[in-house]
Amino acid sequence: MSAILYGLLGAALTGIGLFGLLVRTEPLLRILAFNLLGGGVFLVFGAVARRGAAAGFAADPVPQAIILTGIVVAFAATTLAVALAVRIAEEPGDAPGAAPGADQPPDAP
């Protein structure tokens, strides 16, 4: 029963994280929202693992292993996003037109 409860919590956290990711413009707040979202996704996985408790194991070990791998990968992704955001914040602006991608016309589809 608690598996379903945490599964539903994961669903709620997913929605909350997604909302933060879409409405926040500050990079750090977006990164935090991405991590909230990730926590929700892992909880849904955890609920699946718990439902699969069998053969004397408190939870199905296969999804647990996947969550472990996923948490470490998500952490690495977070560090990269943070490094990029910090770098942008500390980068003095370039001369306009320094990069071909810079001046995308606003009316592009």
Partner: protein, 308 residues
């Protein structure tokens, strides 16, 4: 059940507060709380391995990383896009509520009885010599995922270092001047690391039979290094240091070599010779722990900064 309901409500409240917060410091502090509460949720879900990882990485290392970033970014305001208007925000909120509703419905409609690979793991775990089923999945049945993930960490270090600004290449990673010395941090940095290292070694060793293992041990070791670094007790070696790069690459390189040897000797990549599985797995675990610990710490410290 009551405990679970309270815990779930608390996690939900902290998550909502994190998204509602406008200040990066407030939001980060709330997020650390979120990680700690999640670790309790993992305990309640019977996933002790995940709980340890979540506490060490989700709350500990992520917290240090994000607090540091919030401090560095405070003088600058960066916005990627224009903020959505009121109507758009409402529409996004409705959409996200819809996503949650669909997910909740899907969770309630999952097949009953649940499908599980637990019986198959139980039937085959004897071949690995391990007692911890999660470790058996990570190091034997799905070992290639673990191998690739350790390679992802090497790649992440390369990717992070590639973000060094002009003039920063070759120097030590992170800020030029670590945080101020003295105070409670210095005391912690003197007392905690010896204990932390012992705990990490213990967690690594018991990981073969009980919850624990390389990820958790590596995260604790990384945190100890971070602590000493933040208190100014150790300096990070320059990114050009050959030994530093060797340590990061050693674990994945050894793992791949073991895999290829398995192919040559046993006919399949990552196949372990019968009877030798446990010693091979433990050697790989120990070397991987060192590599992962250094990689995690380097990822938190970040790319080399601009030198004067």
């Amino acid at each position: 059940m009551m405990v679970d309901a309270l815990l779930a409500a608390a996690i939900l409240a902290v998550a909502l507060a994190t998204v509602a917060a406008r200040g990066t410091f407030t939001a980060t502090a709330l997020f650390i709380g979120y990680g700690l509460l999640l670790a309790f949720a993992w305990v309640r879900l019977g996933a002790m391995d995940v709980a340890l990882t979540e506490a060490a990485i989700g709350a500990g290392l992520s917290g240090a990383l994000l607090l540091g970033a919030a401090a560095r970014m405070r003088p600058h305001r960066v916005a990627l896009d224009r903020a959505p208007g009121r109507a758009m925000t409402a529409a996004i909120g409705l959409g996200c509520a819809g996503v949650t509703a669909a997910l909740a419905a899907a969770i309630l409609l999952l097949p009953d009885p649940a499908l599980s690979l637990a019986p198959q793991v139980a039937a085959q775990i004897g071949t690995t010599g391990l007692g911890n089923p999660v470790a058996a999945v990570l190091m034997s049945f799905r070992a290639v995922d673990t191998l690739l993930e350790s390679a992802v960490l090497v790649l992440a270090v390369i990717a992070a270092w590639s973000l060094a600004p002009k003039g920063g290449w070759g120097g030590p990673p992170g800020l030029v001047q670590p945080q101020a010395q003295g105070g409670p941090l210095a005391l912690l940095a003197r007392l905690l690391p010896p204990v932390g290292i012992l705990v990490a070694v213990h967690i690594l060793w018991i990981g073969k039979d009980a919850p624990g293992g390389k990820f958790q041990a590596a995260a604790i070791l990384a945190a100890m290094w971070m602590l000493a670094w933040m208190a100014g007790r150790t300096a990070a070696p320059p990114v050009s240091a050959r030994w530093l790069r060797l340590v990061v690459a050693a674990g994945p390189a050894l793992f791949i070599a073991i895999g290829l040897l398995g192919w040559l000797a046993e006919g399949a990549f990552l196949a372990y010779p019968p009877g030798l599985a446990l010693p091979i797995i433990m050697v790989v675990e120990i070397v991987l722990t060192a590599s992962i610990a250094v990689a995690l710490a380097l990822l938190v410290i970040g790319p080399p900064g601009r030198r004067a």
